[in-house]
C-alpha cells in the first residue's frame, strides 16, 4: 500500500492503539493534521503546547498507557520541553511528535527551526530525527517500545516536513508494520532486565526475616510496574510497615494498619523517623531522592539496604545497597514473596519485632499529621479544605495537584486508597502542572471524578487550558487554595530568610478567579468562610457538564509541617509548634 509520510504516521499511531492525541498544529506539522481528520483518533486542541505535554502525562499516570502529544516545530517544540523534563524525572511513558522544517532547510536557521532533538537529548529517554518516510512506522514502534518498557519515560519523534507533505516526493513510502523481531533488531543496545537475580532475591528474603527494625520504602516504580497487589502481599506476609513516597501515594492504602504515609522533607514524623532508626530499608522502585533522604550522610545511618529497581544506574547512585536487585518490581516482589513463603514453611522464623512495632505506634500517636484548628474570623485553613474535598469526593476520585504547599497538603491530608488516583509532578516540581494534568486524567478516565487542587501561583501559569476543557467538554474540577502568595517560597522566606518577603506576594483579588473561570466557560465559585466550604464542594461535585473552579481564600500564614530544613539531616525534623511543647 502506497502512503505518504503523514498518513503513515497517523496509521502507525492507530496501530499502536492510540485513542487520543493532545496537540496544537502549526506550519511544519500541518501535513500530519490533514490525515488526522480521517482517523478515529480523538484530538484535543490545547491552548499552549505545555498543556498538551502535561495532559499526555496526566493521561499516562491514570491509564498506564503512553500519552501522546503532537506539536509543530520551533516554539511549538520548545514549549513542550518542560513537560518532557517532567515526564523524564517522573518516568512517565509519553511519546511526543514534533514537526521539523524540511530536510534541505535543516541547519539554515529556517523559519520556526529549532534543534529539538539536541535540546531534548538530556530530558528524553530517547529521541529520533526521522530521516526517511519509509522509516516512520519503525520509528513509531521503537518510540512506543522504549517509552513503555524498562524504566518508562518520554520519547520524542522529530518529523521533517518534506517526509510528511503529500506534495513532496520524499514523503512517498510503502506501508508495512514492523514485527517485534524487527524492532529488537533495530535496538541492539536496548535490553531492559526485568527478572531479578535469584541468589540476590534469596539473600534479600533472609535479610528481611532476620531484621528487627525493617521498613518498606516504596516508590513510583511500584505504580509503574503495577505491583500494588504484590507490595501489599509482601507487607502483610512479613508484617512490615510501608512508606509511600510522593510518587507512590496510592500504591498502598492509607487506611491499612501498616501504612506510614509519605517520607522526606514534608513526610510524616513516623515515616521519617522509622527510616532513621531502621536496621533494614527495603527500597522498592525508588531512587533515594534528596527530598526523601535529606543530608545523605545522615540518612538511615543504621540501615542495611535492599534496593530493587529496573534501572541499574539507580542502584548505588545515592546510597550503596547491601543487596542490589535489578528487575521489574512486580516480578521481583512476586519472587521475593515466593521465597519468603518457602523459608517460613521450612521453619525460618521472623525476628521479634514487638519493640519496633510499639516504637512506631508511639511516634504515630505522638506526632500525627495535624494542624491547628480554625479560629473565628481567620481565613480558611488550607488543610481543612483538602480534608473536606476528600470527605465529599465520590469513590474513585482522582486528585491532581500543582507544586508547592498545596501539593504537600494534598499528600498529607487526602487519603489514598487505590493506585492511580494521584497525579502530580514530583522530580521536576513543575508549577502549573495541575490543570492540564487533570484534563488529561479525565480524558483517560472519563468515568472518574477528577479534582485538581492548585495554588493561585500555579493556576495562573496554565489556567488557559480550562478553555480547552470547556470546548472539548472535559468536566474537571479545580480547587484553588488562594492565599495570595507563592506559598512555599513565602514559607522558606519566613523560616530561613528572617521573614524578608522578597517578590512573593501575588495578589488576593487580582485576578478575579470567578470571572476568569466564567470567561473560560467554567462555573466559578468563591469561598471565604468555613460554612461555605461543604456546600460549594457539593455543588461542584454535582456539576458534570462543564469544568468548575472553586476559589478558597486561605490563610497565608499556614506552613507545611513537619519539615526537614533543606540540606539538613532527617534527624533535624521540625514538627508543628503545638507538637513541640510536648517534647521531652
Amino acid at each position: 500500500m502506497k502512503l505518504n509520510g503523514g498518513q503513515a504516521l497517523i496509521k502507525s499511531l492507530e496501530a499502536e492503539g492510540v485513542d487520543v492525541v493532545f496537540g496544537l498544529p502549526g506550519g511544519a506539522i500541518l501535513p500530519v493534521y490533514d490525515p488526522l481528520l480521517d482517523s478515529p483518533i480523538r484530538h484535543i486542541l490545547v491552548r499552549h503546547e505545555q498543556g498538551a505535554g502535561h495532559m499526555a502525562e496526566g493521561y499516562a499516570h491514570v491509564t498506564g498507557r503512553p500519552g501522546v502529544a503532537m506539536v509543530t516545530s520551533g516554539p511549538g517544540a520548545t514549549n513542550i520541553v518542560t513537560p518532557l523534563l517532567d515526564a523524564y524525572m517522573d518516568s512517565v511513558p509519553m511519546v511526543c511528535i514534533t514537526g521539523q522544517v524540511a530536510r534541505p532547510s535543516i541547519g539554515t536557521d529556517a523559519f520556526q527551526e529549532a534543534d529539538i532533538t539536541g535540546i531534548t537529548q538530556a530530558i528524553t529517554k530517547h529521541n529520533f530525527l526521522v530521516q526517511s518516510a519509509q522509516d516512520i512506522p519503525m520509528v513509531v514502534r521503537e518510540a512506543f517500545h522504549i517509552a513503555t518498557t524498562g524504566r518508562p519515560g518520554p520519547v520524542l519523534i522529530d518529523l521533517p516536513k518534506d517526509l510528511v507533505d503529500a506534495n513532496s516526493p520524499a514523503s512517498a513510502m510503502e506501508w508495512g508494520w514492523p514485527s517485534d523481531a524487527d524492532v529488537a533488531a533495530e535496538l541492539p543496545g536496548y535490553k531492559p532486565n526485568t527478572k531479578g537475580h535469584p541468589l540476590k532475591i534469596r539473600q534479600a528474603a533472609e535479610m528481611i526475616l532476620a531484621a528487627k527494625r525493617p521498613v518498606i520504602y516504596a516508590g513510583g516504580g511500584i505504580l509503574k510496574s503495577r505491583a500494588a497487589a504484590e507490595l501489599r502481599e509482601l507487607a502483610e506476609l512479613c508484617d512490615i510497615h510501608v512508606i509511600t513516597t510522593l510518587m507512590a501515594r496510592g500504591a498502598f492504602p492509607d487506611s491499612h494498619p501498616l501504612a506510614l504515609g509519605m517520607p522526606g522533607m514534608h513526610g510524616t514524623y513516623t515515616s521519617v523517623m522509622s527510616m532513621q532508626k531502621a536496621d533494614l530499608l527495603i527500597a522498592l522502585g525508588t531512587r533515594f531522592d534528596d527530598r526523601v533522604t535529606g543530608k545523605v550522610s545522615g540518612f538511615a545511618p543504621d540501615a542495611k539496604v535492599i534496593h530493587v529497581d529496573i534501572d541499574p544506574a539507580e542502584l548505588g547512585k545515592v546510597r550503596q545497597p547491601d543487596v542490589p536487585i535489578v528487575g521489574d518490581c512486580r516480578q521481583v516482589i512476586g519472587e521475593l514473596v515466593h521465597v519468603l513463603r518457602e523459608l517460613i514453611a521450612h521453619g525460618t522464623e521472623a525476628a521479634d519485632r514487638s519493640a519496633w512495632r510499639s516504637t512506631i505506634s508511639g511516634w504515630q500517636e505522638r506526632y500525627p499529621i495535624a494542624y491547628e484548628p480554625h479560629v473565628e474570623g481567620d481565613a480558611l485553613k488550607p488543610q481543612a479544605v483538602v480534608e473536606q474535598l476528600h470527605a465529599a469526593a465520590p469513590e474513585g476520585t482522582i486528585l491532581a495537584s500543582g507544586v508547592g504547599q498545596h501539593q504537600m497538603w494534598c499528600s498529607q491530608y487526602w487519603r489514598y486508597e487505590e493506585p492511580y488516583t494521584w497525579v502530580n509532578s514530583g522530580g521536576a516540581g513543575t508549577m502549573g502542572f495541575a490543570v492540564p494534568a487533570a484534563i488529561g486524567a479525565k480524558v483517560g478516565r472519563p468515568d472518574h471524578t477528577v479534582w485538581a487542587v492548585d495554588g493561585d501561583g500555579c493556576f495562573q501559569m496554565t489556567a488557559q487550558e480550562l478553555i480547552t476543557a470547556s470546548t472539548e467538554q472535559i468536566p474537571v474540577k479545580i480547587a484553588i487554595l488562594n492565599n495570595g502568595y507563592l506559598g512555599m517560597v513565602r514559607q522558606w522566606q519566613e523560616m530561613f530568610y528572617d521573614e524578608r518577603y522578597s517578590e512573593v506576594y501575588l495578589s488576593l483579588d487580582v485576578p478575579d478567579y470567578v470571572k476568569w473561570a466564567e470567561a473560560m466557560g467554567c462555573v466559578g465559585i468563591r469561598v471565604e468562610s468555613p460554612e461555605e466550604v461543604a456546600p460549594a464542594i457539593d455543588k461542584a461535585n454535582e456539576i458534570d457538564d462543564r469544568p468548575v473552579v472553586v476559589e478558597f481564600r486561605t490563610d497565608d500564614r499556614e506552613k507545611v509541617f513537619p519539615m526537614v530544613p533543606g540540606g539538613r539531616s532527617n534527624d533535624d525534623i521540625v514538627v508543628p509548634p503545638f507538637q513541640r511543647s510536648e517534647e521531652i
Binding site: 529517554k125 530525527l129 522504549i146 541492539p188 535490553k191 534501572d311 542502584l315
Partner: protein
Amino acid sequence: MTARRLHTLSVLVENRSGVLARVAGLFARRGYNIESLAVAPTDDESLSRITVVVDVELTPIEQMVKQLNKLINVVKITELDPRDSIQRELCIVTVAVDRDRRNEVLELAQIFEARILAVAHTSMVVSLEGEPDKIDDFEELVRPFGIIEMQRTGRIALAKLERSTSRVRHIDKAKAS
C-alpha cells in the same frame, strides 16, 4: 598529573548520526571528566567504537558505565585495564629547532622510533606512535627545544589476546547489577 586515576572505556555504539553527541553530552551533564576520546567505525559498518579515557577522581566508574548503558544507541561497554589491553596513541609535534641543534632532535626521534615528516630552517615536524606513556616522555624531552604546535589523537585500545582476555571486564547491559 600522575596522581589522576584514569580509566579506559571501550564503548561500542550504533554507527548513526548524533550518537557521539549523546555520549559526549552525557559526560558533560553528569559532570564526568573526559581525558581523551577517539571514535571511528569498526569492521562492522553498523557499529562504531568510542575509546574514552575518563578521570574517575569524582565519579565511580560503575556509575559512569551504568549511565552510558542507558543510552539507547550504546551496544556494549568494556573497561580496559592497561595491563590487559593494547593502547596506542599517535602524536604530531612541530618542534622549534634550528640547524645547530637539529641533530639532538634527530637523536631523540631515533630513540623513540619517531618519524620526521618535514624539516624547515627553524623547525621540524615529527610524528610518533606508541603507548601513551611513551608519548608523554617524548613530549617532555622535546619541550625544552620549544613546541610550536602539537596534536595527540587520544588513545585507542583493544583487549589483549588469549590468556589475558578473561581478565577484561565485560560490562554487559543485561548483567549489570
